[in-house]
């Protein structure tokens, strides 16, 4: 009975059947700079989609595998961004210092807020994460020294070993790409590990996991902290891309958008969030070029996704393939 309680790790042939889609996506992404050489617009747009893909992956860990609906994940993106921006404001631009700093800041905020939020369940969890997100938003807004409501403009991108590699859009693109792939495989390994199986088990049946001697709270908190850390990394990248960070990065609408990405792509699949982020970024870009009031259409799309997107895009693709 104890074995049945934990979802089994995947068998070897199944792994390849499950990996063809993400590998195809990664291959397509890797080719983008070759098909659009020197096209800053496309490179920037796709890099942005990949950065939000990293954030959506992070959210999927808690949302898809832990069934924890966090409505405050944009806060971690903002914290990562502000860590880079504030460090730069004080003359600290070395990426090997500032990026870990950003990740640590996100992890710390996740640890503190997670320890409180995870005491609650269901609706209350949604609301308290929302409240912490708003707290971060208002704190950023009141940072008068760092731009306050107007946001913080940065004079350049993060340097590595004193060189400004990232200033080149192609280099930046591949750095983001590499981090996306790394995040995907890291989270995939974690989800399929014993840790991930306990996390999923607690989602299916918390009482049974307790009976087996696991304390779901500790696993959920660890997942939440990891998720916050990865989201902060995405925030650091986003701030680097735009060379700008503002309280708007943390607004609750942003948190909502992240959830839309995960659900649209397919919760608890890790591939889905990447697809969802790409689709949302592209749809937003396309609609906003056609019509000034594009959010009306986008809103209807979100309602339709909520009503009919059972399993998300990934599910549709994999079902079609048999």
């Amino acid at each position: 009975m104890a074995d049945a309680a934990l979802p089994k790790p995947l068998a070897a042939p199944a792994i390849w059947r499950r990996l063809w889609l993400p590998l195809a996506i990664f291959a397509a992404l890797a080719l983008v700079p070759l098909f659009f050489p020197g096209d800053r617009y496309v490179l920037t747009l796709v890099a942005r989609a990949m950065i939000l893909g990293i954030a959506a992956l992070a959210l999927d860990l808690v949302l898809g595998y832990g069934a924890l609906v966090s409505f405050g994940h944009a806060a971690f993106i903002g914290i990562g961004g502000y860590a880079i921006g504030i460090a730069m404001e004080h003359g600290l631009v070395e990426g090997f210092v500032t990026i870990p700093l950003a990740i640590a800041a996100g992890a710390l905020f996740a640890l503190v807020t997670g320890a409180i939020s995870l005491k609650t369940r269901g609706v209350y969890f949604i609301m308290i994460t929302l409240a912490f997100g708003q707290m971060a938003f208002f704190t950023a807004q009141s940072l008068a020294r760092y731009g306050g409501d107007d946001g913080l403009r940065m004079y350049g991108r993060t340097e590595f070993f004193g060189y400004r590699w990232l200033q080149n859009e192609v280099v930046f693109f591949y750095v983001v790409f590499a981090l996306l792939v790394a995040t995907f495989f890291l989270l995939r390994t974690i989800v399929n590990s014993r840790f991930g199986r306990v996390l999923r088990g607690a989602k299916e049946n918390e009482r049974r996991m307790r009976a087996l001697g696991f304390d779901p709270f500790r696993y959920r908190l660890a997942a939440y902290v990891l998720s916050g850390a990865v989201c902060a990394l995405a925030g650091a990248l986003l701030a680097n891309q735009t060379q700008f960070v503002a309280p708007a990065y943390m607004s609750w609408q942003r948190s909502g958008e992240l959830i839309v990405m995960v659900v649209l792509g397919g919760m608890g699949t890790l591939t889905g969030p990447i697809l969802g982020a790409a689709v949302i970024v592209l749809v937003e870009e396309a609609l906003s070029r056609v019509w000034q009031h594009w959010k009306v259409i986008f809103g209807i799309l979100v309602v339709l996704v909520a009503l009919f997107a059972k399993g998300g895009i990934v599910h549709l693709i994999e079902r079609r393939r048999g």
Partner: protein, 307 residues
């Protein structure tokens, strides 16, 4: 900090509190009875304000305009229930959050198409314009007092309806155990529809009452929605009494915090510069800290409806 300022700010806090109550009342009932998270409740407040602005301009009379706005807000709530909400009662909270988030995006942009992006202004009705002296030498706008009074009257009416009528009994029963009520032969779907429609109307009423004080603009409901969520979480989901207490506490803490945080910090020994930087930050966070504290010690709020 002078006592006169304290008196005025307390009244302002009460005014915010009753507005929050009008929004939170619908929200907490929809939440409690149907287990449905309606993020779109804030845009219904906004819609009330826009409808009031339109109908007041059309009829030239605030009270006719208000009545028309309420009727349309109710109708709109019912249409929304039929089109979207009723398909979501049996779904996850996640899908409810998502769908109502989409409605927010739709309506916040939709009002820009219909009424334009520029803020609208609604004149205060003449009968209730001007100010009165609440204490010797302090004038306070009559309209703001009217908002407070209207809010308190509605709170009383709601209390009587919920505590002493048959519909109220069903609502309370529904909030405690909806499947049981349904099993006893009550048409729970119709009850849901009524609660949802009137919740939307109450939010619209709050918007219409606030219209002369605030500027009517897209997104005006978003921040109030979050505050209303804080209110019902503090008060306990599904409880009208909790919503009332929570709304007044949040309204007062938020308003007084904003006006006195700098002075309080200076009294606590901080330098004027530091106090001026930290004060506003703490003030805007205070209600969230309050909510986190309440949830930490009482994870289901102050007056939980479910036993």
């Amino acid at each position: 900090m002078s006592t006169t300022l304290l008196a005025v700010q307390t009244l302002n806090g009460l005014q915010l509190g009753v507005l929050l109550f009008l929004i939170a009342a619908g929200l907490t009932l929809v939440f409690g009875v149907m287990d449905f998270i309606n993020l779109a409740h804030g845009v219904q407040y906004m819609l009330g304000a826009y409808l009031a602005a339109m109908f007041v301009a059309m009829t030239g009379n605030f009270f006719f305009g208000l009545l028309l706005a309420l009727a349309v807000a109710l109708a709109f709530g019912l249409v929304l229930e039929v089109l979207v909400m009723r398909h979501l009662y049996d779904r996850d909270h996640l899908e409810q959050v998502l769908a109502t988030f989409g409605i927010i995006l739709f309506l916040n942009e939709g009002v820009k198409i219909v009424w334009g992006a520029a803020p609208l202004h609604v004149p205060t009705p003449e009968l209730l314009s001007g100010s009165v002296a609440i204490v010797e030498g302090i004038l306070y706008p009559v309209w703001r007092l009217a908002i407070i009074t209207a809010g308190l009257v509605i709170a009383l009416v709601l209390y009587i309806v919920v505590a002493h009528t048959r519909v109220g009994m069903l609502i309370r029963a529904g909030a405690t155990n909806a499947p049981m009520v349904s099993a006893l032969g009550v048409d729970i779907r119709r009850l849901f529809m009524i609660v949802f429609g009137f919740g939307a109307m109450l939010a619209g009423f709050a918007g219409a009452m606030a219209a002369p004080v605030l500027s009517v603009e897209p997104g005006m409901g978003d921040n109030l929605l979050i505050l209303a969520f804080v209110v019902i979480v503090i008060g306990g989901i599904g409880s009208i009494r909790g919503a009332f207490v929570g709304a007044l506490v949040v309204g007062l803490v938020d308003t007084l915090g904003r006006s006195f945080s700098v002075d309080l910090l200076r009294m606590a020994g901080l330098g004027p510069g530091d106090a001026r930087t930290i004060g506003p930050a703490i003030a805007s966070m205070s209600i969230y800290i309050l909510m986190a504290a309440v949830l930490y010690f009482r994870p289901t709020g102050l007056f939980p409806a479910k036993g």
